[in-house]
């Protein structure tokens, strides 16, 4: 398994598509975080004794999006490009038959590939986070406390798990579909659906299950919203973004949607609230995290079973 993992790692890090995507993400992340950082710096001048400033670096929306939103959006792509051709590329190049006729267990192939993907994602995300943190230190000039570092750490782990979900899904498609293009398209289609259209889809489900007949009846509106929220939890993208936004924001106390406030308002409002400790924040989103982990495991488990049963011939 380690041999395969080692080879896959070498492949990932020398593959052009991975490098291109990683550079792209890194560049956008650096630029947008830099804009946010300078913005924070200006706002901070009018505020006395702010707390948890460092986390704002990652959660504040700059011109377009916050870093967290950005990762929630592009992270999956990272997983997809590493996984979509994991097995069917070996089929196409006719190396799969050779690989499984070596004295290794068949699951070593798929485990090695998955592991290599997870390691690559971890290295990519951790190094990016460190770079951003360094840049934040310089531009904002605020040193993060242990609590904040802990939150960032948890955020990283959740992000790696999230990208691993997409990696697992892409590998599943690479087993199911013989053609590289089909599996790539299928994975991307699912990604687009979960990231863009989940909102519409969950609204549709909500309207079907508990329609709002009278828009002035608050109970009906609330019931409709509840169903819509519940339906959107099917999407790992929703799970992830809700989970991470709570983890990175100590003032958020519930999983529900929150008002959108500006940076200055947020900073001044926070003075009248006390932040949640890290473990409490995690507790708030625990159901989301378990669900996300479960989805990842289901994906991987499914690929595992299918791959173990698949006929090797008909290549």
């Amino acid at each position: 398994m380690w041999t395969i993992c080692k080879k896959e790692l070498a492949d990932h890090f020398s593959s052009t598509r991975f490098l291109i995507l990683f550079c792209l993400i890194l560049m956008v992340a650096l630029v947008s975080t830099y804009m946010v950082a300078t913005n924070i710096r200006q706002v901070l001048e009018g505020v006395s004794k702010p707390s948890n400033v460092f986390l704002l670096l990652f959660t504040t929306e700059g011109k377009f999006f916050s870093l967290v939103q950005f990762i929630a959006f592009f992270g999956p792509l990272l997983g997809i490009i590493m996984g979509f051709d994991a097995i069917n590329r070996e089929r196409q190049h006719r190396t799969l038959a050779k690989l499984v006729s070596q004295p290794i267990f068949r699951d070593a192939v798929i485990n090695g590939k998955f592991l290599a993907g997870v390691i690559t994602v971890s290295i990519a995300l951790v190094s990016m986070m460190l770079l951003l943190t360094g840049m934040g230190l310089i531009t904002v000039g605020v040193v993060p406390g242990w609590e904040e570092i802990g939150r960032l750490f948890v955020y990283l782990i959740v992000s790696i798990a999230y990208v691993s979900f997409w990696l697992g899904l892409a590998i599943l498609f690479s087993i199911l579909f013989r053609s590289l293009a089909t599996s790539a398209l299928a994975a991307v289609a699912l990604w687009i659906f979960f990231s863009f259209f989940m909102g519409f889809a969950s609204d549709l489900v909500a309207d079907a299950l508990s329609p709002v007949r009278n828009p002035r009846d608050p109970e009906e509106v609330v019931a409709n919203q509840r169903v819509s929220d519940a339906a959107s939890l099917v999407s790992p993208a929703v799970l992830y973004s809700k989970a991470t936004s709570t983890i990175l924001d100590p003032y958020r106390r519930s999983r529900g949607s929150v008002m959108i406030v500006g940076l200055l308002e947020k900073l001044s409002m926070e003075r009248f609230q006390s932040p949640l400790p890290l473990d409490q924040s995690i507790l708030v989103v625990w159901p989301y995290l378990t669900l996300l982990a479960a989805l990842t495991l289901i994906c991987f488990g499914l690929s595992y079973v299918i791959f173990m049963r698949q006929e090797i011939r008909s290549v």
């Binding site: 190049h93 038959a97 050779k98 690989l99 006729s101 070596q102 004295p103 090797i312 011939r313």
Partner: protein, 247 residues
């Protein structure tokens, strides 16, 4: 002479179609056994069952004394299998491909380099080892495929259509190589093919498989006597065509 491969009523069905039908076969040590038959006769399915890559529907097999369904790993450790149209990682060099295979076979690190060089020398690719496999010709790829098998010091080689698509020169080199391996190292070889004149050149015994059934086994002389009569010549192609028409 001990039997290296032994099958007993080996059968594999895909749905209602029978790919291999009650195959009973014995291949002895140091033989070069030619496994003949048209495309889709069940040759590859048989090979996959021998390696434990496909489960037989019924019947049993022993390869080097192991049961492929129970001990596939032990068989894969000692048997070199060259699939039809074998593929390589084109973005790696020949040596790197061999090294990957050696590592998968858990060769001790100290011996890997030495083994790679030896294998490359044997197949006559030692000058080409550092070129990307993507730039190899078809004949070179097939020989690299053999080199990959030699790395694990196999007792048995199973070659699926090793000469398919090679030019006459490549074919000759390939056959000489297989012949030399059998002669010098005592490796048992089972090779499947439908190119008869080549099989005739190097094989000690042949089996003819048509529509999943093994219709004849024996040396070429035996089969010639049976089908063409005394003095009917030794042309494998003629023998084969007789069997083919009967089936």
């Amino acid at each position: 002479m001990a039997a290296i491969i032994q099958t007993e009523n080996l059968t594999r069905r895909y749905g209602r179609q029978v790919a291999v039908d009650g195959l009973t076969l014995e291949i002895n040590e140091r033989e070069i056994f030619g496994f003949l038959g048209p495309n889709g006769a069940g040759k590859t399915t048989t090979i996959l069952m021998l390696l434990g890559l496909t489960e037989p529907t019924s019947g049993s097999a022993r390869v080097l004394g192991y049961d492929p369904t129970r001990d596939p790993l032990e068989i894969k450790r000692q048997v070199g299998y060259l699939p039809e149209n074998v593929g390589f990682y084109d973005d790696l060099t020949g040596r790197e491909n061999l090294r990957f295979m050696a590592e998968l076979n858990r060769l001790p690190e100290a011996r890997i380099t030495e083994k790679i060089e030896e294998a490359l020398r044997t197949v006559g690719l030692n000058g080409e080892g550092d070129k990307l496999v993507g730039a190899y010709s078809r004949g070179m790829r097939q020989r690299l495929g053999i080199a990959e098998l030699l790395i694990k010091d196999p007792k048995l080689l199973i070659l699926d259509e090793p000469t398919l698509g090679l030019d006459p020169d490549g074919t000759n080199k390939m056959l000489d190589l297989v012949h030399a391996l059998s002669r010098d190292r005592g490796i048992t070889v089972m090779l499947s093919s439908h190119q008869l004149e080549q099989v005739q050149r190097i094989c000690t015994r042949v089996g003819i498989m048509i529509k999943g059934k093994l219709v004849a086994v024996g040396t070429i002389e035996e089969l010639a006597k049976r089908k063409l009569g005394e003095g009917g010549g030794m042309n494998l192609e003629e023998i084969y065509m007789r069997y083919f028409k009967e089936a």
